[in-house]
């Protein structure tokens, strides 16, 4: 692994984060409605109360100064306090991060377990009934927004058949697993559909290639031939897995709202509508960082999967 490659990737990620933070800041600045109004809610807005709020949140300063003040804090590890709850942003996020990560991991795992075998079977049985069934299932899955899938699952397996709890995050490992199963499944349905298509397309492309015909012509056993194709289809499949990790992470926003789970997603939705700038900023940076990390892992996996790919070369 080359240090130059990692340094370039780190710089790139930093640049994205910098641009994003300016963007979010600018957005909040341009947004209609004022923070002080939102904070006061229905209480009467006396000039003194407004003044106090402005002073507290430095709202009278020019926007550049406010941004630099915020940036200075971030560089020292201080993400500020939530306007909405008064909690430290670090604490608010820290307490909710594990749930979202667990949900993402669980959802991705289910998607891989469902999608990969279905895609492989479809490719090897191309054109047969099982392939068609897999294809139709994949399209249906891809077309289901996570929240809609979640509601259908809730109706089926929590209301109609009371196998799973309707709401809540659950206690302990077993409880957590039980409570997160339906949400993770709702997330996995769309991701699995995507994975079925990617896997099948990649494998079909490999199976049509000359080296497969040659391998069969010289009498290699079918399992070995299948191994050849799978090994060469690994790169596009890895790309797809990276894609579903990020889409699952993004999907948690919808799923946490659907299932009333206290994770980062529901925090984001609440903070956004409240224009809770420090929390929104921190969440945007954190989620982007997580996604950059996933993409980096995928790129590292490429080099293991294909020795032709060297670090820093364009693989797309």
């Amino acid at each position: 692994m080359s240090a130059g490659f990692l340094a370039r990737r780190a710089l790139g990620t930093l640049a994205v984060l910098a641009i994003l933070s300016v963007g979010v800041f600018g957005l909040l600045y341009l947004a209609p409605g004022s923070v002080e109004r939102t904070l006061l809610g229905t209480r009467p807005a006396s000039p003194e109360a407004l003044e106090a709020i402005r002073a507290r949140y430095h709202l009278d300063e020019p926007v550049v100064t406010r941004y630099l003040r915020w940036l200075g804090g971030v560089l020292q590890g201080d993400f500020g306090t939530s306007i909405r709850t008064g909690m430290s942003v670090t604490d608010a996020i820290g307490s909710r991060l594990p749930l979202t990560l667990q949900l993402t991991a669980y959802g991705t795992l289910l998607a891989v377990l469902l999608g990969l075998p279905l895609g492989i079977v479809g490719a090897f049985r191309k054109g047969r009934a099982v392939d068609r069934a897999a294809s139709v299932t994949a399209v249906a899955g891809m077309s289901a927004p996570p929240f809609a899938a979640g509601l259908v699952l809730l109706m089926a397996f929590a209301v109609h058949l009371p196998w799973f709890p309707v709401y809540g995050a659950g206690e302990g490992f077993g409880g957590r697993l039980l409570h997160l199963t339906l949400p993770a499944l709702a997330l996995a349905i769309g991701a699995a559909g995507l994975l079925v298509r990617f896997t099948r397309t990649a494998l079909v492309r490999e199976l049509d290639k000359d080296y497969i015909v040659f391998a069969r012509a010289r009498g290699l056993p079918p399992l070995r031939v299948a191994g050849y194709a799978l090994r060469n289809a690994l790169i596009p499949i890895l790309t797809a897995v990276g894609l579903i990790v990020t889409s699952t992470l993004a999907g948690t926003v919808l799923i946490e709202v659907t299932f009333a789970l206290p994770g980062l997603g529901s925090l984001l939705v609440d903070s956004v509508t409240f224009k809770d700038m420090p929390v929104v900023q921190a969440l945007a940076l954190l989620l982007t960082l997580l996604i950059s990390l996933v993409n980096l892992l995928v790129d590292v996996a490429y080099t293991v999967a294909d020795p032709r790919v060297r670090f820093g070369e364009d693989t797309r």
């Binding site: 000359d210 012509a217 020795p307």
Partner: protein
Amino acid sequence: MSIGETKPLIDVRGLRVGRAADGRTLLSDVSFAVEAGRSLAIVGESGSGKSLTVRATLGLLPAGLVAQGDVTLAGRPVSRDPKALRALRGGTVSLLLQDPFTLLNPLRKVGKQIADGLARGKRTPAEIARRLAEVGLSADVAERRPYELSGGMRQRVGLACALAGDPTILIADEPTTALDVTTQAEVLDLIRRVQRERGMAFVLITHDLRVAFSMSDDVLVLYAGRTAETGPAAAVRAAPRHPYTRALLAAEPPLDRRLTVIPSIPGTVPAHDAVLGRCGFADRCALAGDACRDGTPEPRPAGPGRTSACVRADVLAATAPAEPETAPEPEPAEGSGPALLEISGLIRTFRGAKRPALAGIDLRVGPGEAVGIVGESGSGKTTLARCVVGLERPDGGAITFDGTSYGDLRALPKGERARVLRGVQMVFQDPYSSLNPVRSVGAVLAEALRAAGRDGGKAEVAALLDLVGLRPDVAGRPPAGMSGGERQRVAIARAVAGRPRLLICDESVSALDVSVQAQILDLLADLRSSLSMALLFITHDLAVVRQITDRVYVLASGHCRESGPTAQILDSPTDPYTRALLASVPIPRP
């Protein structure tokens, strides 16, 4: 197929291939047999069904195609038993494919790929080294992956893989078509040596008559999915018993002399099921009579060990083929008057390349002169042509075309650039990609005419089509459905629409079948004299360059090795590289 005491190792009877979806037949009544130690070449142009024949024999047809007929491998009937056939692949029969760049698993080490085909107990480094040595490679190649090897090395590895299961029958489908001439000669030698040492029955599929006659004992000529002629290679070459074979042999340009007109076969190969119930060649045959269109001619004996599917084989045997007229060698026109194209010290290095593609080339084309550039892949011949027309930007040197000097044509002022491009045009190699699939032939030509300052009306398009030997109704058609030869005619029409003074042909006939190649070469020679333009003809094929050029430059690795009158260079080369190139042309076995 000579009559021997031993039973043939591979015996195919009445092979027929059809498409399940629409019931179309692609190939029928193909039979052949090869004994141990013997070799058979199956020869045919594209569309003849030669690749389908081997795929069907080995049970490797693409999805949707079905085969009928009797196939016996090493005494075992396998045509109705796919499992038995699968068990025989590798250990009894093996297949080597055409393209060395795609036939190996790109991610697996070469040694492991060979080991995958070895019997279980034999998968040792020593055995792999021995297998690599058999194909002329050193043991350390085992640790490399295909992308680290050259085309010739990959094809050697492919051979080692095909031989890993120690088959008694080896089938090779165009094994050297994708290779350079010198590499092709080495690989052919290798295959022949290994076949002899192992005493295998060998079936070679090829479009190249020279390769076929140099490699095999017997030949089988396929035409439109049916057997035209079979027999011992030497006998067939000396006296073909089918008009198609005779025409094909005549269309092959000779290396040692220049012909006034290369005898070509009119038209193109028809689809198999378009000529059911009659002789498929009748429409292109000079000897054809009513009997030829009345029923499918069956192969019948035509001399010792020979068959012919021509009802007029006797007439054919009685008439000697017309000896084509040899043209006088052209007078070298070099030095007379100002040059049309003058290139001096042209240099081009691609980014990331170890050595320059062009390392200072000088070249001159006089008005109306035909100049050849000969070289293998990587010689820089195509880069040179692309620099002249501004598709490539040289790093150094100068190009002067008709009084206008430039390095990068794109950097010239618009008017001057337009003037140069009216004077010089180019015909590309691949007739399929050189026509825009969504534009009709008429639209393509009208645009070219307008670009040359003409009005591009219907009459002009029709005249242009006539010039290249196409009917005017072609104008309304899209390129889809046109044959390679027809497409290349359209591409030539587009290039000569503005009556250029220099036409550059970049391997413009090398993707075509031999019979069509002769048509296009004749067309180019005609156009050269009728439009009095100069030709810059780029090719890897020495026989072709002999037919069409007055002077030739031999390029290798971006350097010019030798130049001079074509006849002189080909008859008495002074440069060792030119000699090696000439020595690589396959010669028939005695």
